[in-house]
Amino acid sequence: MYYVATRETGSALARFVKQRVSNRLDAKLEDRDPDYLREALPLLWLLSTFYFRAEVRDLGNVPADRPVLLVGNHSGGNVIVDTFIFSLAFSTYFGVERPFHQLAHNLAIAWPFAGEMLRKAGTLSASHEHAERALAAGAPVLVYPGGDWETHRPSWEGSKIDFAGRKGFIRLALDAGVPIVPVVSIGGQETALFLSRGAGLAKALRLDKLLRLKVLPISLALPWGLNVGDFAGHIPLPAKITIEVLPPIDLEREFGPDPDVDEVYAHVTAQMQEALDGLAAERRFPVIG
C-alpha cells in the first residue's frame, strides 16, 4: 500500500516536472524584451570592456536588412562569455530594437532564474522549428552547431573549430533561404583550464539518453577547483576575448540551386578555421591575449 502510494506520488511529481520543463522550453519569440536588454547592456559593457578587454570586429558583415544565420564556434564551458559579448556588440551596433535570437541547450532555458533571463534576451531552446520561426520573422539567429561537444573541448584545442560533423545548420539556412554569416571567437577556452569532455563518463552514466548530454566535462575552474560537469558554472578567468564576423555566405549563389551539404560544411568550417588561426596567431599569451 505504502509502495503504491509512493510510486503514484513519484510519477505525479515526474509528470509535473516534465510539464513545467516542457512549458519552459516552449520559448516564444515575443518573450524577448528589448527594455530588459537595454537595462542589461551597461553591466555587459563593463564586464566586456574592463574584465575581458573584448574586441568585436566587422559587425558590418551582418546584413542590416534581412535575416541571417549566424554560425559561431562555442567556447567557455557552460559560462559562454563570448555569446554575451557578441550579444552586447550586436545590440549596441544595431540597437536593441532589432530582433536577434540565439539557440541554447534545453537545460539552460529550463533553469528557473537564468532561463527567464535568457528568454528575455531572445534565447530560444535549440530546435529547428524555433530557429525557422525566428528567421521567418526576419530576425538574425545565432547558432552553435558544435554545442556542448565544442564548448567543453580541452583548453589546448581552443583555436580549433569542432562541430562534430553536425550539419543541421546548413539545412536550416537552405530551408529558410538565408545566408550563413560565420562568427569566430577566441579566448573563451582560457576562462578555465578545460581538461576533458568526459564523453566516456557521460555515456557510462547514460546522460546522453536522460538529458541529451554527450559530455560530462572535467576542468579546473574558480571557485570549485576540480569542476566536474560545470552544471553550476564557474567564475571565468579574465581572458581576452576577440570575436570576428566573416562575410556572408550565400549558399545558392556559391553552391548552385541544390547545394551539397557536405561541401558547404567543409567550406564553412574551413573559412572559420582559417579566421580562427589568424586570431590565434595574434595572441601572445594565454588569458592575457
Binding site: L41, F50, G60, A89, G95
Partner: protein, 164 residues
Amino acid sequence: MRINESIRVAAPPETVWHYLEDPENYLHFMSGMTRWEVAGEKPNGLGARYRVLLRVGAAEVGGLVEMVEWHEPFDIAWHSVTGVDQRGRWRIRAHGETQSRVEFRFAYGVIGGGIAGLVTEVAAALPVRRQMRRTLRQLKRQVEHEQRRLEAELRRASRAGSRS
C-alpha cells in the same frame, strides 16, 4: 552624463559651419566614429537623419539620430531616435574678428541600468571625453587647412586682378 569640450579655431564661424554641415566630413574628423551615414533622403538640415556608430570600449555604440536644431552658422543639435540615448550639439561662436570658438557637447544616458548603469556612465566618460578632445583637434586642423586654402585662393584672385 554630459561632457563639454571646446577649442578655438582660426577661421570664422561660417567656415566652421560649412565644414560641419557636410555629413561626408564626419568620418574624417570624428575620433572613434565608425559610421556617420545619411539615413533617408535629406542629406542635412533640420530633420535629417543619420545612422551613427562610435567605438566606446568593447562595443560600437550608436543608433539613428535626427537633427533637431539647425541654426546657420551657430548651432547644430541632434537627438537619438533609436539605439543608445544620446544628444549632441555643435555650438559655434565668433571669437574676435577672425576666429571661432567651437564647443562640442555630448550627453548620453543609461536608462534603468541601476548601479551598473551609473558606473557605466562614469566609466565611459573618460574614453568619450578623450575622443571628443581628439575630434576637436582634428576639426581644428581640417577647418584651418580649409581656411588657408580659401585665403590662398583669394590672394591668387587678387594677384590675377591686379595683373590684368
